[in-house]
């Protein structure tokens, strides 16, 4: 057994139990329903901003884009304007595709070796599909949850729900996004557990957020389709959170512990976010190999901390070799001293 994923798995179970027992048995609904979510959101916002500011404070001394296509050069050679951008527009297109379509990951290949040493590289799309499905499903689920924080529910959210429920099966009707999220997150976790090399590089920090998000999706699906929690009380609580007018303890107590487990998971995820690899969400925007144009031969990039360095000047070089240079017929700036010239 691998301690890294066992620790993470156990941590998620324990987190759920804390919230479930804390509300069902100890009656700490106010703590798990109000206080912790607020604190978590504050930690998330402050932490996220501080992290991004921290990166922004570091200098960008050189322009080091990874060029993935033909440079802009002679007028008759067609440049690759997106993968090797030389303009801001090109960079924006590159970043846009990177962020919404995971363009670099789309290139992924898988190396295979045959026994005679022949090596092949095949296009490998599963990680890209899994990652894209995960992120988009999560985004849709998040957007759908806005209905808990807005009254009346805005039309775009309703439209999204309609599209998400396109297949019209089950009662209540099944949202595709939730199912896709659960499958995608399970795939990402299973590939970490079962592909030996990926397991080898994975840390507890990699399993924990996957299990946590699995927990969030799982408890959410349980509530919606199986345990049928008191949705009106929940909306009273969530509307109270956004309007700072909290419902009575009676209402909070009417909500099932399962919901508090779900909410606690979300709170933990928010608070954990700024201190973890999940910050790739912000970091991608600041990645110097992607967000800069390859134009440093056209426009000078300035390094804010560029400092003078010791160099071996031409004059020093000529002093070292003047005699030999003159002898070889190489031009010199300073002629040989008469004494040296005589030696020849």
């Amino acid at each position: 057994m691998n301690v890294k994923y066992m620790y993470s798995f156990l941590a998620v179970i324990v987190l759920f139990l804390i919230a479930y027992v804390g509300t069902e048995a100890v009656g700490l609904q106010w703590l798990f329903g109000v206080l912790i979510p607020y604190v978590a959101l504050a930690v998330f916002l402050v932490g996220f901003i501080r992290r991004v500011m921290g990166w922004a404070r570091s200098a960008v001394p050189f322009r080091i884009p990874t060029t993935c296509g033909q440079q802009r050069t002679l007028p008759w050679i067609r440049p690759n304007r997106i993968d090797n951008p030389s303009t801001t527009g090109g960079v924006i297109a590159r970043m846009f595709l990177e962020i919404v379509a995971f363009r670099s990951l789309f290139r992924n290949t898988r190396m295979k070796a045959k026994a005679d040493g022949r090596i092949t590289y095949q296009w490998e799309i599963f990680l890209w599909v899994g990652a894209l499905a995960f992120h988009y499903a999560f985004a849709v689920v998040l957007a759908r949850h806005l209905r808990f924080f807005l009254e009346p529910v805005p039309a775009p959210i309703k439209l999204l729900e309609t599209v998400d429920a396109f297949f019209q099966f089950g009662l209540p009707v099944v949202y595709l996004s939730g199912v896709v999220l659960l499958i995608a997150v399970a795939y990402l976790a299973l590939r970490r557990i079962f592909i030996p090399m990926v397991r080898y590089i994975s840390l507890a920090n990699d399993f924990f957020p996957l299990f946590l998000i699995f927990g969030i999706a799982f408890t959410g699906i349980l509530m919606r389709y199986f345990s049928k929690v008191d949705i009106l009380s929940i909306k009273a609580l969530t509307m109270g959170l956004v309007s700072f007018s909290f419902p009575d303890t009676e209402v909070l107590k009417a909500i099932d512990g399962l919901f508090y487990g779900h909410l606690f998971f979300v709170s933990v995820l928010l608070a954990y976010f700024p201190f973890s690899k999940l910050m790739h969400m912000g970091g991608i925007f600041l990645s110097p190999t992607r967000n800069l144009p390859n134009d440093t031969r056209m426009h000078r990039h300035v390094n804010p901390w560029n400092y003078p360095v010791d160099v071996h000047t031409y004059a020093e070089y000529e002093d070292d070799f003047r005699e030999k240079m003159v002898e070889a017929g190489l031009p010199v700036d300073k002629p040989l001293e008469p004494a040296e010239a005589e030696k020849e």
Partner: protein, 543 residues
């Protein structure tokens, strides 16, 4: 070469399996054939580099200064502030593993710590411990570990098993660039005097004599004079290169490797013949320099500061000679430095003019600030304008494939220019499979200062993916010549080919240009520059 494992031993490592113990619990084994010798203290002293001393990587005691951990910690902190790339790359990796089988060193050695993600984790684990709250609280569970002697040795071993080729960064969804990690790792190691000699000695040579090989000015001129004789023997034309000449229009800078060793020497002759041709026909005016006699920059493999110290010679010499702009020869990392660093470090080059080809009138808009043009750009432009008389059939004995050098491919995007030139100077050109060329090109396995002799096993392993693709086109199309635009390639491919695909030779682009170039007043050519007889001499082709 005879100490090397057999090909089947290399092949067996291609079945990648992780180690049986967690990577943090697997101590580094500094193995013969895989590492380079320690820097000679004399070389470090010339550069006033810290902690120059005799030490041996395989000995227990590395003779470190007492406060080495503190030096590293402070160096790390300083670099996090100076380089956003470093800070962001320390924070945002999700360990998806997409980079793993993109690395030629991982593919060839099967050593899990050669996966780019783990190479970075070697540093990241210490970063978490020293600079992040979670790392401090959670320790090992949070992927953090303190800096120990064992960790330091691991850094050293694996930072010198990366050639900074950036192939992994093409596939990384966040653009994490292992070259950047390795550059920082090596800078930190250099704070403790832990360079390898194959880098440190060329750097000190370059600093003092102007080139990595330590060729002194008179010897440099002598070597080119030999080529003048060789060229005359083949073509009957006597070319006249000029050196350190003030008032020339253009300064030419190329890696010194091409002056020194075959087959780079033929590329060097190619430049000389091209320049002579252009002078005779169009009055082209160019000078070589013995002071700025190195295009490459092993300082880049040491630290940003060392890179700047060596690179400074280019602009300084251009200014002293009063040229209009600079033309650069075929070299890999040289062009990453010129394209992405030079103007920033040592510019602005306001004493030069925006480069214009004196022959075609083409303005090199893409180089208007740096004022340095790549010779492949320059030659492609000449050919496009019909300024070169070329007899392609003189390269008919060659079946050519083209290796994109890592840095011009992924740090510049110089992909089409050399291909255009090749198609115009030879009749038989075959591309390697698409996942092994252009931005997905595989490193020669010896870049970033790893082209020493003592680490030959590492080089053969790292070069395996490239050699494998060459072998494929050799078997498919009978390819017998591997063309490249990098001096390190020209130095390291011959042994790599000899080991993996012995029937394939190595050439630079301008060697083939010179073979095809019809020089004014030349004798009928009976051999190519290497003295090998030409096939179908009267220009009849077999296609």
């Amino acid at each position: 070469m005879k100490d090397l494992p057999k090909p089947k031993d290399f092949y067996s490592r291609l079945m990648h399996r992780p180690g049986s113990t967690d990577w943090m619990d697997t101590p580094v084994d500094i193995r013969k054939g895989m590492y380079c010798y320690a820097a000679n203290p004399k070389s470090l002293n010339i550069l006033s580099a810290p902690f120059a001393r005799d030490w041996n990587p395989v000995e227990e005691d590395w003779k470190l200064p007492e406060n080495w951990q503190q030096i590293l910690h402070e160096g790390f902190k300083e670099r996090l502030e100076r380089f956003r790339s470093f800070k962001v790359f320390m924070d945002i990796c999700v360990r998806c593993g997409a980079c793993a089988d993109k690395c030629h060193f991982f593919i060839g050695t099967g050593d899990p710590k050669n996966m780019p993600v783990l190479r970075a984790e070697l540093l990241r684990s210490v970063y978490r411990n020293d600079f992040t709250t979670f790392g401090k609280i959670l320790g090992r569970v949070g992927g953090a570990r303190p800096m120990t002697l064992n960790v330091l040795k691991e850094w050293w071993y694996y930072m010198f098993q990366c050639s900074e080729c950036r192939r992994c960064s093409v596939f990384c969804p966040y653009g994490i660039d292992t070259a950047e990690i390795t550059i920082m790792g090596r800078e930190l190691l250099n704070l403790l005097g832990l360079n390898i000699d194959w880098i440190a000695t060329p750097v000190s040579n370059c600093y003092m004599t102007g080139n990595h090989l330590g060729i002194q000015p008179h010897a440099y001129k002598d070597m080119l004079d030999f080529f003048v004789d060789d060229i005359e023997e083949v073509t009957g034309v006597r070319v006249e290169p000029s050196f350190n000449r003030k008032g020339a229009d253009i300064l030419f800078i190329t890696p010194s490797g091409d002056v020194f060793a075959d087959p780079g020497t033929y590329t060097c002759m190619g430049y000389m013949m091209l320049f002579h041709y252009l002078r005779e026909k169009y009055g082209f005016d160019i000078t070589w320099s013995t002071y700025a006699s190195e295009g490459g920059n092993f300082g880049f493999f040491t630290s940003h500061e060392t890179m700047k110290r060596l690179n400074a010679k280019m602009y300084a010499e251009a200014k002293r000679l009063g040229v209009k702009w600079i033309l650069g020869g075929e070299c890999g990392h040289m062009w990453r430095v010129i394209n992405q660093y030079m103007d920033t470090m040592n510019g602005p080059a306001d004493f030069l003019e925006e480069p214009v080809s004196p022959i075609t009138g083409t303005k090199f808009e893409n180089a208007k600030s740096t004022k340095m043009v790549h010779i492949a750009e320059f030659t492609a432009d000449l050919i496009r304008h019909g300024k070169l008389e070329l007899d392609k059939s003189r390269n008919n004995h060659l079946k050519v494939t083209y290796h994109d050098s890592c840095n011009p491919a992924r740090g510049m995007g110089l992909l089409e220019e050399p291909r255009y030139v090749i198609r115009n100077v030879c009749n038989h050109f075959y591309e390697m499979p698409e996942n092994t060329i252009r931005e997905q090109t595989f490193c020669c396995g010896s870049g970033a200062g790893l082209n020493a002799g003592e680490n030959m096993e590492l080089r053969m392993a790292g070069g395996l993916p490239r050699a494998n693709a060459v072998k494929h086109v050799h078997e498919q199309h009978g390819v017998n010549m591997l063309a490249c635009i990098c001096a390190i390639d020209r130095a390291v491919f011959p042994p790599l080919m000899e080991y993996w695909v012995p029937e394939v030779g190595v050439t630079g682009l301008h060697e083939m240009v010179a073979n095809a170039l019809v020089m004014p007043g030349e004798n009928k050519r009976e051999t190519d520059l290497r003295g090998e007889p030409l096939e179908g001499m009267e220009g009849d082709t077999d296609e």
